[in-house]
Amino acid sequence: MTTKRIENPMPEPSQLTELIDSMSASTNPQTATTLQILHNLQYQHLWTSLQIHATPADMASSAEDPRPTLISGIPPHRVYTHPDEQLYMLERGLRDDDLRPERLFVIPTAQGQRWSLRRMAAVFDAMSDIEVAADDESDTVALPEGAKAEKLEEYYRKRAEADITKEWGSKRALLGMVDKGMGGEGTVVYYIVQEGEVKPRQN
């Protein structure tokens, strides 16, 4: 009976581990969470123009609940459409893909993190002050022509109004939560969080 000698008992570190190792000098677990979700958005959900934003320094933070970070990026398809907006678009024959790609904020979190309404509100308040680097890709989308362009223009006008009246919902962000608990296998789940009472989608 021969015994095979195992040369390297440890598997190769994953790309994700390498990414986290290379990018985070600190041992802040929040940084690792942020990078893990960024990685997930980039490679599983094919988001582009991803950026990481720090939230204002005055936000309450401690060793247990580090200052939250934010990610922003452009999803390949629209993630959320308000039900009234959807109806408006349907009436004008517009589809999600006709619209310009839009940047969306993602709040990276890990299971077991302590959150509170105060923290959630602070992140939402911080979102308006964050400056996003100009999107280089937004111009590359082929603009539709003719009647559709007109409809689109009409839509964007209405949209600008709706942003003020909040009839199509107000501030929104994705809450990304990575499963890091006991037996956690790194799954990331995403939930749409919106400020105020926004009626649910029906599909």
Binding site: H45, Y80, Q111, L174, Q194, E195, G196, P200
Partner: protein, 308 residues
């Protein structure tokens, strides 16, 4: 549907808040979006649990909201019923006479309806036999027969309404009518309405009251939410006609929220096409002078599964 006089007395019985007056229930539902939960047996359909009747149980939050709005007051019903011992002889007799006349009225109404129904049936039978006899004729007569009956059944049996002046065939029989016994819904009369000095203080409410009041102010109808796994179910309109929009959970501003709770709520809501609504007042009870101040400071967040 008569509008009740304000403030509406809410019965406080053994720590719970109840309404027994149908006019109050209808009014509060229509004007203040207060639904409560019907917990009583419908005497006309007593063997089922789908449609229930009076009394209406109010959450302490609902009672508090109405008291704070000045629409209702809280009456200690056990104490108020001590008043049965001091009824004046004259009031007692008058009340009994009133009940008897209601009972007589009811038995007349019922026998009228029975007679009407019998006539209907006879008429139908008659027409059927005629139709059979004259088979050659086209049968179009029996189409408009049913309307008077269906109108009659939609009318509520109103005991205090004035008696109809037109004499129906049945009113000939009134001589041998016996008054039916009546169990009134409320005790006022014979009891006098308690005056404001006897009202109880506003109900104690749970920490979730500000969120409840906030949503109610914004026009939502709210009902208890445990069977949907939340604190309140929020409806955009009267639950009689509309599906709910939100499963609602309240939290204090600095209270820890388990992220798994958000995931559970989001999943639970999305599964039934409802949003999960998380919210609460920015001010704690120590920081606010009144619950009203807390209500003012409520912020909410709507959560749905992103589908990715």
């Amino acid at each position: 549907m008569d509008n009740p006089t304000l403030p509406i007395p809410i019965s406080y019985i053994s720590g719970r808040y109840l309404l027994f007056s149908i006019d109050a229930v209808t009014y509060l539902r229509r004007e203040h979006h207060i639904c409560g939960v019907l917990i009583g047996t419908l005497s006309q359909l007593p063997q089922q649990n789908v449609f229930l009747g009076l009394p209406l149980e109010l959450m302490p939050e609902e009672a508090r909201l109405l008291v704070d709005k000045g629409v209702a007051c809280i009456v200690d019903e056990a104490k108020a019923h001590g008043g049965m011992e001091s009824l004046a002889e004259e009031d007692r007799r008058q009340y009994l006479r009133e009940l008897e006349s209601q009972g007589l009225h009811a038995s007349r109404l019922l026998s009228d309806r029975r007679d009407q129904n019998r006539e209907q049936v006879l008429k139908k039978l008659d027409e059927k036999s005629r139709a059979k006899a004259l088979k050659a004729k086209e049968k179009k007569e029996d189409k408009d027969v049913s309307s008077p009956a269906s109108e009659a059944k939609e009318e509520p049996l109103d005991l205090v309404a004035p008696e109809p002046t037109t004499s129906t065939p049945a009113s000939k029989n009134t001589g041998r009518q016996q008054a039916m016994g009546v169990t009134p819904a409320t005790s006022y009369p014979p009891l006098p309405q308690p005056n404001s000095s006897q009202h109880l203080p506003p109900p104690e409410v749970p920490l979730s009251y500000p969120l409840f009041a906030h949503l109610s102010t914004r026009g939502y109808f709210l009902s208890p939410g445990l069977r949907f796994g939340c604190q309140y179910v929020a409806y955009p309109g009267d639950p009689l006609r509309f599906h709910s929009h939100f499963l609602t959970v309240s939290s204090e501003w600095d209270e820890g929220i388990d992220l798994m709770g958000i995931v559970n709520g989001g999943r639970l809501g999305t599964g039934v096409k409802k949003g999960f609504l998380l919210g609460g007042p920015q001010k704690s009870r120590d920081e606010a002078e009144s619950e009203a101040e807390r209500v003012e400071s409520v912020r909410t967040f709507s959560i749905e599964w992103a589908g990715m």
